[in-house]
């Protein structure tokens, strides 16, 4: 093996390793809690005037039950386990929150066999994407929701409004996932009657791998009963 072949072999081996580690997450579902720290919340009315009921709510920490669906080796979706958070049983147990809205072909099963995008959830945004990648031992991710639609949602969201979730996480023994994230809305509030968050909301999360996968379960749990 000459030097050039050795370099190619090493590079191929490195690529294979990298591919393997990301493939660990492809088509998997992880469940756990996210601890959110929100500096302050303010309610706004349709004219973007603050509603003094109360004027602000501060010092909030919330444990939010979540799932993260890794559709494949680069796309993911954050799902809110609303059924466990106290929402009505008449609503779906899971609500897609932010991330990749396109359902991979393999997960288009059950009632949504022909559905290409995630139904329900934060559907007020026109474009929703979520991607992740690995560098060293750490994964980084960005989920973005953007509204380019200036007509349909003008009563609930301002044209051009967006929200972005960024963060990083590490894997332990391929079974435990933990990391941190920050969440930012622009503008703030993102629309009339919405809630304004002062500053950046931070989250830490710890998740464990579920035996189920997006392709085996499909997304029926995203639909109201």
């Amino acid at each position: 093996m000459n030097k050039q072949q050795l370099i190619i072999a090493c590079f191929s081996f490195w690529l294979a390793l990298a591919g393997t580690s990301e493939a660990q997450l492809a088509n998997t579902i992880w469940r756990g809690d996210a601890k959110l720290t929100i500096p302050a919340l303010t309610l706004y009315d349709n004219n973007a005037d603050p509603l003094p009921y109360p004027k602000t709510t501060t010092g909030i920490s919330i444990i939010v039950p979540v799932e993260v669906w890794f559709w494949d080796s680069s796309k993911f979706l954050v799902v809110f386990r609303q059924g466990e958070f106290g929402f009505s049983a008449e609503r779906a147990p899971l609500q897609p929150w932010i991330g990749e809205w396109t359902i991979p072909v393999a997960a288009r099963t059950g009632q949504l066999v022909n559905k290409q995008t995630v139904p329900y959830g934060s559907g007020i945004f026109e474009n929703q994407t979520g991607s992740y990648s690995k560098k060293g031992n750490k994964y980084s991710f960005t989920a973005r929701a953007v509204d380019n639609d200036s007509d349909n949602n003008s009563n609930v969201i301002y044209p051009g409004a967006s929200q972005v979730l960024t963060g990083s996480f590490t894997l332990k023994n391929a079974q435990k996932l933990s990391g941190t994230a920050s969440f930012l809305q622009t503008p703030n509030p993102i629309g009339p009657g919405q809630i304004s968050v002062a500053g950046v909301s931070l989250a830490s999360f710890s998740l464990t791998k579920l035996p189920s996968t997006p392709s085996s379960t499909g997304v029926d749990d995203f639909i109201d009963p």
């Binding site: 004027k55 709510t57 909030i60 466990e84 106290g86």
Partner: protein, 209 residues
């Protein structure tokens, strides 16, 4: 001379009878938790609700109640604020304390009590209605201390204390939200208004109860 100096302002006493005071309350919770099938689940911890508009009404010199004025705290009109329907057709809601006007037919359901101890500067109030599942048990008990100041024509009242919720029910399936523990600590500052309980208490509907 000594008597006059003693009365103003160091030993000024509030004349509470038939007065209405407007201001804001700040309430702090330790934990608001969700229960499912009686098992504790998600929770919100450490939340403080700041500057909630409220009014303190004194039907007499030693009775009080806390009233939400929907015009100031939720809407600019009964139909809503800037297009959002945010409350029903009443302007006032009693939250805790003495019935401000038992002769008002819209208030006959209210059986709460609110007493002011002028000597100790303490307030004690309950929330009760004849429509409660257990009308004999208050849904809220308020214990507070107050301080009164008068500077020129401006009179202010600062109160702080706790609101205890003795019974926090979950639904038949054991689902619902509860405060842990079942209390809110609060502090608030109020200024005396020109309104009178004897006038406002009689009103009904969009301008009253």
């Amino acid at each position: 001379m000594f008597v006059v100096w003693g009365q103003v302002p160091l030993f000024a006493q509030a004349n509470f009878a038939d007065t209405i005071w407007a201001g804001t309350l700040t309430g702090k919770t330790k934990e608001v938790a969700h229960y499912q099938a009686n098992a504790k689940g998600a929770s919100v911890t450490g939340a403080t609700a700041n500057q909630i508009p409220a009014e303190i009404w004194f039907p007499s010199a030693n009775t009080f109640c806390i009233v939400f004025n929907n015009r100031t705290n939720r809407a600019s009109t009964p139909d809503g604020r800037n297009g959002i329907q945010v409350y029903d057709s009443h302007l006032y809601d009693v939250v805790v304390g003495e019935n401000p006007c038992p002769t008002n037919p819209m208030l006959t359901y209210w059986t709460g009590t609110g007493t002011v101890n002028l000597a100790k500067k303490k307030m004690y109030g309950t929330s009760q209605t004849e429509n409660d599942d257990s009308p004999e048990t208050p849904t809220m008990i308020v214990n507070a201390s107050y301080s009164y100041k008068k500077a020129g024509s401006r009179e202010t009242l600062t109160i702080q204390g706790t609101a205890v919720f003795p019974v926090q029910g979950l639904d038949l399936q054991g689902d619902g939200w509860r405060l842990n523990p079942g209390l809110v600590t609060f502090i608030g500052t109020f200024s005396k208004t020109a309104n009178r309980v004897s006038v406002e208490g009689l009103k009904q509907g969009s301008t009253g109860f």
